[in-house]
Amino acid sequence: MHIGIDVGGTFTDAVLMDKGLVKAVAKIPTSRDLLTSLLQALDAVMQGVGGEQVERVVFSTTLITNMIAEKKYDPVGLILIPGPGLDIGLFRFPGEVRVVQGAIDYRGREIIPLNMEEVDRVADDLAARGYRKVAVVGKFSCRNYLHEKKVAERIQRRFPEWKLELGHQVAGQLNFPRRVVSTYLTCATREKYRFFVQSVQEAIGQRGIRGKIFILKADGGTLPLEGSQEVPMETIFSGPAASTLGVQALLPPGETAVVVDIGGTTTDLALILSGQPLLASKGAKVDDMFTHVRALAVKSVPVGGDSVVERVGRDIILYSERLGPPYCLGGPMPTPTDALRVLGLTKLGDPERARQAMNLLGAPLGLSPEGVAERIIRQVVETVVEEIENMFSSWEQEPAYRVWEVLQKKKVRPGTVVGVGGGAPGFISQIAARLGCSPVIPPYAPVANAIGAAVARPTIQITLRADTEQGYYTVNEEGFQGQLDDPAFNEEKALNLAKRWLAWRANRYGLENSVQEVELLRKEVFNMVRDWVTVGRLIDITIQTPRGILYHVGGGRERGVEE
């Protein structure tokens, strides 16, 4: 049996699944201590089920998200090796920044050497200011880690107790400023995350669960809990990924749909294109800084069931703040939930108080409670619809660098709008109508997120880049750099080498079973021509284990399951 748990900001949801059937669900309020919520939810769905029957537990966590939002991490010093180029002052980097001399170019060649005395001075300076955690990041370090490694070795020798984090190990993609931020955040959160992982492992062990424990990532994939310690940052934003995967599991395969998750204060939008959740083309924004964290393309709209509604002059205005629960649930201000209550679109709260809320807004304008309620609903619907349109057009606007990519771009519009989350029933049919789609609220919609966690597949990826002229290759995800001895190294050999690395990486995570299928994600082969002669090739290959879900959820509803 599989268990999925999604720890959200307000509720923690859990499901127990058996061969595509939902056996038990649970919804409990999230408490301050994430571990407690996690275990409560786990215990709730495991009632009457022995730990030995559980083959797999997947959960999401907001630990890192919260830690970053509340800045509850240790200070981190940054040693950067930017070399010539952009003024790094254009980017807002967190932490104490120190720049040292040195530069590597786009093909990994050293163009300016390091100055070790300068490295020592900078390290002493950070030490004097009390830093014990330091991130070392160089421009183009993903093409050659030489400088980062040398700086780290030097520092580690002098300050063995320091926790160092190197850019090329955190983020192998191009984009130095994002690598800086990603490395900084990894350095800042890793220790606390490790402690959390240990507590979870202990607690789950006590329940006799022998199955594998996974953690959900922002891109909708999973990683074994143990291995996730390498990449704590990838656990952020897994909530939206959970509900999107849940919808994917609850829909027939191959659908193009918009997922609308209407919560108390925000509405999360995600796209499923031909059955696959859409990944953002660039890394996620964390605490207002761009990172390399791969995430689903999720748009958060600051409007939800608990958003404050006010009358200003003759206008009724929807604000993005929440000032407590809806009026009908004893809150201080009218909200969209009150509007839904008046129109009979929800059963939450006291109908009389909901009418009062509408009257507060509408009476001075001579509007009936129903009239006001309709206006509010229309505004919510309009806001959400506009954002959905924007999402599609910005997806269409994504840059393309090849002729075939430009030519194959076509307009895609969804067929269905899928509502999940508490506010969905009241709004979804109107949103769908405005988009000319069919509204769907799948069974188990309130726990779609937990289902998503339960069905998420492990994912591993390998990006291999070979430069045959210089005779070396790199493996981004592993921070590896090695020699190419074969003079006849070509595309096919590169692909085979990448596959071996993928298998090796899978093994390392204990996921050897998931590399039977391999998807080619990206392949670039460039002949390097100098003076009209081909002198070598640049081969860039990204492969991964298939993304997606383990299975779709069957239509049959089990007896005795509460909703």
Binding site: L86, P177, P399, N527, V529
Partner: protein
């Protein structure tokens, strides 16, 4: 302008090449991509990246006479490169961005009005297509094109030689030492557009200092006088000191400084074949300059420091700058008839060589000397490919500012040519109504293109 972004279309055409080892091949912008991506420039709030779009066949026919037809001269890659410039121009005109950089390939500034094939790596002229598009779709009349490629922008010059509302300035390595062998100071435009073409051939080996002397003392003063509504930079980068085809000594900084002085609405990449040593740095520096960001730290790894320039060559350039500035200042007082003679038509014979496709073209270009408009143009052109295969065509072009009389005469000329057996194809391009006719002798058929309807 403040607060607005710089638009970028980056279209490296990673799946398009003239031939596998040609300088214009897939790899050309690879390292530029690496540099731009690694620097994180695209995350800056000052820069907005756009997805490329395709120009239409009609956009091309509005500007060129492609023989036998547009579809036989362009690939999708060409339409995307041209379309990217149009897209950015739309965004500039609508006020969405303050300026733009079409970092695209293939290039276009050697493509002339009549296109028999590829010359100087170019099939269609991205900037010229943009000019006609700006006029048709945005009613913009006065446009300046400044060409900073090491090679003379002979295609652009050819297309606007008789257009008084397009100022074309090209500085480049002296044509006696480099392809295409033209672009001398005496090439100043036709009788109706005298001094609207300015050429500054530079002796090989000169660097940023002379480059900026020309910019400060000639190009900027002329632009201030001309007051263009829109400035386009044909941003070739082969004046760089590492370029394998050129022999100039400009640096990335020199290019960026030029860009920030010129303040073009749109920069369109042209040549530049030092794909590792120049392009990553020059493109980055130009992009930063357009966005108003600090480019002083962008430096080539092997930056040689200040170039020692040959004083004789420098003083030659200074004299030429003085002469050209006088020509410009006296442009409206000059005796046109003394230079161009009299008569209802001005004629020039041209021989054009297509280096990439080995085609030799002979042209007779005639422009109607009309007192009330720039006059219509006819081109009798024969392209010879090898020994046996030749195509003779007759082209009539009506400028967008054409008067009624010229328009009527032009249609007559077109009809007359259709009746002559010597021309395999006869074309009429009426920019005043945005209509294009083409007639094929052997099939006795005529095609008309009126461009997209409103709303398409």
């Amino acid at each position: 302008m403040r607060g607005k972004k710089t638009g970028l279309v980056f279209f490296p055409a990673f799946d398009w090449a003239i031939s596998p080892t040609h300088p214009e091949r897939e790899e050309r912008l690879l390292y530029t991509r690496d540099q731009i991506f690694e620097e994180g420039v695209l995350d800056l709030p000052q820069i907005k990246e756009y997805a490329p779009r395709l120009a239409t066949v009609h956009d091309v026919a509005r500007t060129h006479f492609c023989v036998p037809r547009v579809q036989s001269q362009v690939t999708e890659a060409h339409l995307i490169a041209a379309g990217s410039a149009l897209l950015l121009a739309d965004a500039v005109v609508s006020g969405e961005i303050k300026n733009g950089f079409a970092l695209v390939r293939p290039p276009g500034h050697h493509a002339m009005r009549v296109v028999h094939g590829n010359r100087g790596f170019c099939n269609i002229n991205n900037e010229a297509i943009l000019v006609e598009y700006l006029r048709r779709h945005h009613g913009i009349r006065r446009i300046a094109i400044v060409d900073s490629d090491v090679h003379h922008g002979d295609g652009t010059q050819d297309i606007f030689y008789h257009d008084p509302d397009v100022l074309f300035i090209s500085f480049h390595q002296d044509g006696r030492t480099i392809y295409p062998g033209t672009g001398f100071p005496h090439e100043l435009g036709g009788p109706g557009a005298y001094a609207r073409t300015i050429n500054i051939p530079l002796p090989p080996g000169l660097g940023d200092e002379t480059f900026h002397y020309v910019v400060d003392n000639l190009i900027l003063p002329i632009l201030r006088d001309f007051q263009p509504e829109f400035i386009i930079n044909s941003a070739g980068q082969d004046n760089h000191y590492t370029d394998p085809l050129g022999s100039m000594r400009f640096t990335a900084w020199g290019y960026a400084e030029f860009t920030s002085k010129l303040k073009p609405h749109l920069a369109v990449l042209e040549g530049g074949y030092a794909i590792e040593t120049a392009l990553p740095y020059v493109n980055l520096a130009i992009l930063l300059a357009l966005a108003g960001l600090d480019y002083s730290r962008v430096r080539e790894p092997d930056w040689p420091g200040a170039v020692k320039e040959n004083p004789d060559r420098v003083s030659r350039v200074k004299r030429m700058v003085d002469q050209l500035l006088r020509v410009w200042e006296e442009r409206d007082n000059i005796d046109i008839e003394k230079i161009f003679g009299r008569g209802p038509f001005y004629e020039r014979q041209k021989k054009i060589f297509y280096d990439t496709d080995y085609i030799e073209e002979e042209q007779l270009e005639r422009v109607r000397r009309c007192p009330s408009c720039p006059g219509y143009i006819t081109v009798d052109s024969q392209g010879v490919r090898g020994y046996s295969y030749s195509t003779r065509v007759f082209c009539v072009s009506v400028p967008f500012q054409a008067c009624g009389a010229c328009q009527a005469e032009a249609y007559d000329a077109y009809e007359r040519a259709k009746g002559l057996d010597v021309y395999q194809y006869v074309y009429l391009q009426d920019k005043s109504t945005d209509t294009f006719f083409s007639f094929e002798r052997d099939k006795k058929r005529e095609w008309v293109s009126e461009g997209p309807k409103v709303g398409e």
